[in-house]
Subunit: 563 residues, 2 copies
Amino acid sequence: MDQLSPQEVFRFLLALAVLLATARLFGEGVKRFNQPAVLGEILAGIVLGPTVLGEVAPKLQYGLFPLEGNLAVARDGLTTLAIVLFLLVAGMEVDLSTLWRQGRVALFVSLFGLLVPFSLAFSTAITFPSSIGWEPGVDITIFGLFFASALSISALPVIAKTLLDMNLYRSDLGMTIIAAAIFNDLIGWVVIAVILGMMGTGVHGQGIGNVIFLTLAFVAGVLTLGRWVIHRLLPILQAHTSWPGGVLAFALSLALAGGAFTQWVGIHAIFGSFIIGVALGDSSHLRQQTRAIIDRFVSFIFAPLFFASIGLKVNFATNFDPFLTLVILAIAVVGKTGGSSLGARIAGLTWKEGLTIGSGMVSVGTMGIIVGLLALQYGIIHERMFVAIVIMAVVTSLLSGPAMTRILKPKKPKRFTDFLASRSFIPSLKANERKSCIGELVSALPLPQGFDPGTVSEIVWEREQLMPTGLGMGLAVPHARLESLPAPLVAVGISRQGVDFDAPDGEPAFVVVLLLTPSDEDSTQLELLADIAHEFHDEDIRNSARFTKTYTEFLALMKSHRL
Amino acid sequence: MDQLSPQEVFRFLLALAVLLATARLFGEGVKRFNQPAVLGEILAGIVLGPTVLGEVAPKLQYGLFPLEGNLAVARDGLTTLAIVLFLLVAGMEVDLSTLWRQGRVALFVSLFGLLVPFSLAFSTAITFPSSIGWEPGVDITIFGLFFASALSISALPVIAKTLLDMNLYRSDLGMTIIAAAIFNDLIGWVVIAVILGMMGTGVHGQGIGNVIFLTLAFVAGVLTLGRWVIHRLLPILQAHTSWPGGVLAFALSLALAGGAFTQWVGIHAIFGSFIIGVALGDSSHLRQQTRAIIDRFVSFIFAPLFFASIGLKVNFATNFDPFLTLVILAIAVVGKTGGSSLGARIAGLTWKEGLTIGSGMVSVGTMGIIVGLLALQYGIIHERMFVAIVIMAVVTSLLSGPAMTRILKPKKPKRFTDFLASRSFIPSLKANERKSCIGELVSALPLPQGFDPGTVSEIVWEREQLMPTGLGMGLAVPHARLESLPAPLVAVGISRQGVDFDAPDGEPAFVVVLLLTPSDEDSTQLELLADIAHEFHDEDIRNSARFTKTYTEFLALMKSHRL
């Protein structure tokens, strides 16, 4: 019986623990700079791979992440599963109805956004094959096609994530970008399917015609009849099997079977699970909770493992080719942004809108890496080219968010916790009446130079006397606007015995939130007061907040119920 | 680079899809007979393994589930990960405070419940080694110890699941059983650690003393300092990392690292993740939502994959030894039930309570299989013994639930949907006033012989006139008690335009639930009315119910929000 030896089990588990922890750590790290987590995850792999750890401690690196033997095979099996499930999640995010609504503009954007970088890359590849890194023995057309695909396919998950992070997902522009990325992905994968078909990588080696026919039949079948059957089956599964296990296992088996099918056809397994994901995600019978379980587990466990494993495969330092990287980057950025903007302009949008869409589409990110990985596995490209593609993918993803922010300047919703410093949280208020309570909270604030706590307390107290700020249900929000205050200030106090803030329900306040805003920002005060009211709307949250003992616990509570 | 070939990826994904789907299907199947899903999952593996599929279609069986080569290694890596994560979940279910509260009784039950079957099995093994299946070349003491461990360790997850399913989990008796099973598990694993230590299976081959010391130090360290650190860290992670990804990845990396550590020490990895699970689960800062995501994904995806993979390893037909199986079964049932009952009796409980606890503890189930699998891997036992242990585990788990039910006769809460037949759901009521609406619903009921729809409608209408049954918020529950009705009957009607049921809020009813109960069962009517009110308490559910179109959709809705 071939299986991992006890010693290999030890190394396998330790390697996974290190990979997952490092990937998530780096993922959180880059998020501080408003970058998508995936960048950090890829970086984690590069650090743990031959590039960094391999140079510092080669024995340890090889012991944990060998490229040969049982451990390499077991890790490959797991990351294959991971990427197949990640594409299931990406597919589930696709909203088919958006495709039709934003259809015309999206079609133009995606067509030009695909064709321009594709032809640019393809013509460069076949005109200067050697400088681009083509190696004798590889079919030059297939090389060019692969190169062009890796540089022109959009990274739907990264784009969706970026738009969500920036609160642009539900905007018209956001929907157009998403729709265009979906078209782009679908067309891109069919193109890749054709290329793979030309290479005859099918499991039973069928011809190109067969591959194209089977691929299109699969897509058409799953998105019509399959979608209908899934929509009918889901309520039956929910009604008659254990909840949510029945639906969960159904979705995953289906995705695995879909992946197996497209792999059998001769194209990559991820294509099958992506299409199954689209069909599943489209059904209104798939409950939010089921989606959440799959999405969270895959996005936070499987996806980091996959993206981190990329960096384990090659040495990014020795294989770094600045010229090649620059060429690839230039083609991707110019081709993708230019093409998409042009498409948007032709469809009748303004140049500004076109440019925003263009910078949204520039993320070749994760998909480009997957295509590059395929090409590397099939020996179409060498490692220097793969490294250049990964760097290109990372850089384009890096550019996309900031570019859109610069053009659109989207308003980030203000949260009162963003202005709450650690020292301004009082876990146990000493004051037992309104005025001294306000004084206690004000003295906990990091007031800027020139503001006297006594005067500030006086101003808040005057406002309080005008109209009491006890909202009822144990919450009070004393507040005031101060002239020339540079930024809002928030203090939170918890009172064990309660402080009377003259609330309409007569209840004393157990949670007191003091809010100071600049007098020239009318909307800020309103927005923050609304945020406070919203956060404490839920009774469970109010009750839990009364018993938080530290700033961190309070912050954790405010965060963990936002989902 | 060692990795799965495209052809192997196809077989790997297809095999996983088949394994997962079959395991869940069989799991759901046995649940219809009130048996835990794990039985079906093991059965699914036996069907897909050499025992059944291997006989019917050997080429297909070997193609999907080979025992040699890359596929076997990749599958072994995945199932190793699965069982490590399953033990994390099992550990998270442990409630340390229960241990102290039910301490004395639980200690007696677990000690006797462990010692009696252990000594019985050990003495049998060393007295009649050959008839028990010992083979020359194997250390007879180690053989006996392993044999005894496999027959005396309790299956905490199966026991917990059985108690939960029977609504006995929160009862005093349930808590005693759980506490005893926890002690039993902890002691059992330490015993197994010692045996493994005696065999010198440690990665760096340390002696027994070292293994015991490191194991105890690990348990003590994780359950004291580790628990404290985890409790402090969780709110920090929740406050400062993405939610719930930060905590999720933290929990899993920690479990993997713990598993790697105990594997390194020389005992099995599952022990480490179990202890980490106990420490994690104990923190009140681990939110329900995070627990749910880990629990659902592991219980419904990873656990089925692991338990189904057991049956793939050996042929259960050719290796079936009726005599050996009977001996093992007798020792386990007599030893475990007898020992546990005795322990309970000595601790001062009645014989009836003792017997209930004894039958609760009889599940050796999953844990026995894991121990057997270890012994098989290390060559301590042969395949016939392994098959006998698996059958013993399955049979004891089968006995436990029904035995407890027989002794305690627990009351299962009545659900109105249990009495709602498919034909009694009317998706679009024709009637637009109360009386005809009642008539329409009654005529949809499967009334038993001798009940005339007209008369029944009349009785319900009389009751309705006494006091209207419109509850408000769009819900009405006309009901009546009928003499000599054998069982409750329920009909549900959805009205598009609404039917006036004279509700206190003046709103017409959009969902009408008709309820008929036997006149000699006072409590049944109250219980079912309370259930209906509870089910429709949530506004979202009421709104969704108004637009359900089929019986299945309605049932799915009533089920999917119960979690």
